[in-house]
């Protein structure tokens, strides 16, 4: 779990290439998709709006066609009746009456058929033959319009049938001027057919315009002829905004009623001056639109998830080698120059990794070179230091010689000068760095002789070496600094007589010089630090510290050689110098 969260946070690192690639690509894709979505849905809604308008128009045309046909059939009937009236010699006529009865019986949408004179007198009627007592025929619109409109039919708005004793049906009145013989005279009259309003209603009822859409019919004066909620309109519980319908005869309009957008489609009915108006509600459109929008949002979300996942994979693929390089680089930072990357992938990345390897190899080589150069530099430095003779030692020795000469100790002077001469000869050794063990021991012995005279035999010494050893070679001037150290720090402050023992022997195929004294010894912390590079040798001495000896040996022969010091306070110190066992010709391999 912890690892997962770590990985997650690594992934969510806002500056990582991977994150940037994923996010930017995802953003671009999402924006493109949203843009497309909006564009398409806009196009779709426009198209669906047009579709609705088109289908509404279709419906309306069907309705108006039906109405038209119905009217034509009614006009046809009036024409038949008119012909029959014209054929009748005189009215009332029993044959005509029979004809009217037949027509009335075959058409159940006809409420009544009647013929009136131009004075408003009922001449012929079926099924009613008598007017109501107070009926005022001449005041009816259909009557005077029927008389005026010569030879065309007139269709009234719906009204309550009011001429005959009946059930107060709502009817439409169709009237047409006719002429006939009545009471011996040629008379102008009106033919009236009352049509049951229901028949119009039936023609319009089956219309399907979505859930709540509907159609209604207006006459030329903007009266509502038919409306599915006619009762509500008549009772003032509902109203229609007929402005558009009044102004236009054909077309599709948008209007807003009670905060609901609706589509108004208007069409004239061919024969009359009626208009069919269809209402379809926009919110039904928008519900399908919103469900579509929801659907596309879900699709979009899925697509976004899909795209992001894909990009996560792609970016992982792209950045994987870069990440590997990055990790290798981190190792290099930590100092591991043995790193080698082997990356397969894009051309550029392979190239990069090859360059990386090359670079690391170069660095490694350069570093190695630097180390070598530094070592040799240090070596020569140390050699130079080694070759230096402490001038104080020389002054003091010479002082001692003068002093002894003054006192006439000529034997001592001889010994001292001889020793000094040997000491220097070996020290210089014609500039050679490597000398025989014999010579080195000789050098140590001469030094000890000089010092013993100077210290007035404050100490004794002995040098032991196996004969075999003497033929081997050694680094020069390594014992003398140890002895100097032993004298200055160990024996000088002693009360009793000091003793220095030098042994040279072969141990485990190594050359060992052991310098033992019985001096004051060293404290543990001094002992600990004496060989380390940090130890600052402030003591006087010959200026060539024990540390330098150790360093020189290790620089030349490697870490397995060098100094080993044992010391105990008041007991003395033992210094062991390990060197490789080699003869003249073998020396080359160390340089």
């Amino acid at each position: 779990m912890k690892r997962i969260s770590e990985k997650l946070s690594e992934y969510l690192d806002f500056k990582s290439i991977r994150f940037i690639i994923t996010v930017s690509f995802a953003c671009i894709t999402v924006i493109a998709m949203i843009f497309m979505g909006i564009l398409l849905s806009g196009k779709y809604s426009k198209a669906s709006e047009q579709n609705v308008a088109l289908s509404t128009m279709h419906v309306i045309e069907q309705v108006s066609l039906n109405l038209d046909n119905y009217e034509k059939s009614m006009v046809y009937i009036t024409n038949i009746i008119e012909r029959n009236i014209n054929n009748a010699p005189q009215l009332p006529n029993s044959r005509l009456e029979e004809k009217l009865d037949v027509i009335f019986d075959t058409r159940d949408d006809i409420v009544s058929i009647a013929i009136f004179t131009n004075k408003g007198k009922l001449v012929e009627g079926t099924p009613f033959s008598k007017l109501k007592k107070d009926a005022k025929v001449t005041e009816e619109e259909w009557f005077y319009r029927g008389i005026l409109n010569s030879n065309t039919t007139f269709l009234s708005a719906p009204h309550v049938e009011n001429l005959f004793d009946g059930k107060y049906n709502w009817v439409l009145s169709l009237s047409k001027p006719v002429s006939f013989y009545y009471e011996g005279k040629m008379t102008q009259g009106v033919l009236l057919i009352d049509i049951n309003f229901n028949s119009i209603e039936q023609l319009c009822q089956k219309v399907n315009l979505g859930k709540s859409g509907y159609i209604y019919i207006l006459d030329s004066k903007n009266n509502i002829i038919y409306h599915p909620q006619q009762e509500l309109i008549y009772n003032g519980l509902k109203s229609e905004n007929n402005e558009e319908a009044y102004k236009n005869t054909y077309g599709t309009f948008k209007q807003k009623v009670n905060n609901e957008e609706r589509l108004l489609t208007i069409k004239n009915v061919g024969y009359t001056d009626w208009k069919v108006v269809a209402i379809s509600y926009m919110d039904e459109l928008t519900t399908t639109k919103s469900s579509l929008t929801n659907f596309s949002i879900i699709i979009l979300l899925l697509a976004i998830v899909f795209v992001i996942t894909i990009f996560i994979f792609i970016s992982a693929k792209i950045t994987k080698p870069i990440k590997q390089l990055d990790e290798s680089m981190k190792l290099v930072e930590e100092g591991d120059l043995d790193v080698k990357v082997d990356i397969k992938g894009d051309k550029e990345v392979v190239h990069l990794s090859r360059s990386f390897n090359l670079m690391i190899a170069n660095i490694k080589q350069l570093m190695h070179q630097i180390v070598i150069e530094q070592e040799s530099k240090r070596k020569s430095e140390l050699d130079a230091l080694q070759a230096q003779i402490n001038p104080h030692f020389l002054y003091n020795t010479l002082d001692s010689i003068v002093w002894m000469a003054e006192n006439g100790k000529s034997q001592d002077v001889i010994t001292m000068v001889t020793s000094l001469a040997r000491f220097f000869r070996i020290s210089i050794s014609r500039g050679k760095n490597i000398i025989y063990v014999r010579e080195e021991l000789e050098h140590a012995k001469n030094y000890l002789i000089i010092q013993k005279i100077r210290y007035k035999s404050k100490f004794n010494f002995c040098i032991e070496a196996e004969d075999e050893i003497l033929q081997y070679k050694t680094l020069k001037l390594i014992i003398q600094p140890i002895i100097e150290n032993a004298l200055y720090h160990g024996i000088e402050y002693m009360v009793e007589e000091g003793f220095i023992k030098i042994t040279a022997k072969k141990v485990e195929e190594k050359l060992l010089f052991e310098i033992q004294d019985n001096g004051l010894g060293m404290k543990a912390e001094v002992l600990e630090n004496i060989l380390s590079y940090t130890f600052n040798n402030k003591g006087g001495g010959s200026g060539v510290g024990v540390k330098n000896v150790h360093e020189r040996i290790q620089l030349i022969f490697g870490r397995e050689y060098g100094l080993e010091i044992e010391s105990e306070l008041e007991e003395g110190t033992t210094v062991r110098i390990y060197l490789p066992l080699f003869k003249d010709e073998e020396y080359e391999k160390f340089i």
Binding site: K132, H159, E231, N235, L237, I312, A316
Partner: protein
């Protein structure tokens, strides 16, 4: 690296699950909202089963039920005097836990209790036509009966003149409508000191009884000039009596309501004027307001329905036609 792929897989599946659940819940929500908007049940309880007046109320109620997408049950006791029967119907509606009740109360005092009962059960009650002595209803849709009475009274005076004897034929004693209509008439009559109210009878909304009562009033006082019949049953009874006695047009008759038979009597000249309410609108608004309050919307507390006085001269005005002749469908 493999670990990383695993995480990606996890993230992917997680988001997928979230999206799927999101879309499913959104679908469910839609269904829920559809379900919560189920059709409300509305009980429409009127005074009696028969009569053109109530038939027209029912037509309006049906139209509104269709328009506002509710289930409407139109019921009534057999006759207007059966107050206990109407109480029972209301209590049954409460037991059924209908969403709203539309009530035309038969009695102003006695029906108050059940209206309070319904309100206590959190069922909104819309009162139409006649109210009760309770303020627990959400709306009261009525004709201003006092005004109706005044209109009738004025029409009567217009027909009988200022020196005359008149009678009132009411329907149920204690009915709020009857009380208010009488009050309106008497208010008008009190302006005319020479108009005498000679009789006031209750026919119990029974046509036959109205007929016999009319005859007895006429026989008691021969100088009677006019009758006001306070509802359609009383009107028809009185009209029949006048027709049978051959007194059509001689004794003026002013009525209420606009049943087809009454209208025929208007055309014949037996009835000189009738005060017409709008029962269609009443039924429509009753259901509309009931549906609205069942859905938690606010409705007007008081709604007055317009009135018209119809006589034989204005009966076929286009406006009046629409007002009084229902569209039979």
């Amino acid at each position: 690296m493999r670990n990383l792929f695993k995480i990606q897989k996890k993230i992917f599946t997680l988001t997928l699950i979230i999206i799927i659940t999101f879309s499913l819940t959104s679908c469910n929500k839609k269904q829920d909202s559809d379900n919560s908007d189920t059709r409300k049940n509305i009980e429409f309880i009127v005074k009696m089963r028969s009569g053109d007046y109530w038939a027209t109320v029912q037509m309006g109620a049906n139209d509104a039920a269709k328009e506002f997408n509710v289930n409407m049950n139109f019921i009534a006791p057999d006759n207007e005097l059966d107050i206990e029967g109407q109480k029972k119907l209301v209590n049954e509606a409460i037991d059924k836990k209908v969403d709203a009740i539309v009530l035309s109360a038969s009695d102003y005092e006695k029906m108050a209790e059940v209206v309070n009962n319904a309100a206590a059960n959190k069922i909104p009650v819309v009162l139409v036509d006649s109210g009760v002595n309770s303020d627990k209803s959400v709306s009261f849709i009525s004709t201003d009966n006092v005004k109706a009475g005044k209109l009738a009274g004025e029409k009567l005076i217009e027909n009988v003149g200022k020196n005359s004897k008149v009678a009132i034929l009411s329907f149920v004693e204690g009915s709020e409508n009857a009380i208010n209509r009488e009050k309106g008439i008497i208010d008008v009559l009190s302006n005319y000191p020479n108009v005498k109210l000679v009789a006031k009878e209750y026919c119990g909304s029974n046509e036959a009884m109205a007929k016999s009562l009319t005859k007895s009033i006429i026989s008691m006082d021969n100088g009677l000039n006019g009758i006001v019949a306070l509802n359609s049953a009383a009107a028809l009874g009185a009209a029949r009596a006048l027709e049978e006695l051959g007194l059509s047009g001689k004794i003026k008759l002013i009525t209420f309501d606009s049943t087809i038979l009454e209208l025929q009597y208007v055309e014949k000249g037996v009835i000189q004027g009738t005060v017409v309410q709008n029962p269609f609108k009443m039924g429509y608004l009753g259901v509309k307001y009931a549906a609205m309050s069942a859905r938690g919307n606010k409705v007007p507390k008081d709604e007055n329905i317009d009135l018209k006085v119809i006589d034989k001269y204005n009966i076929y005005n286009p406006e009046n036609q629409r007002f009084i002749f229902p569209f039979t469908k």
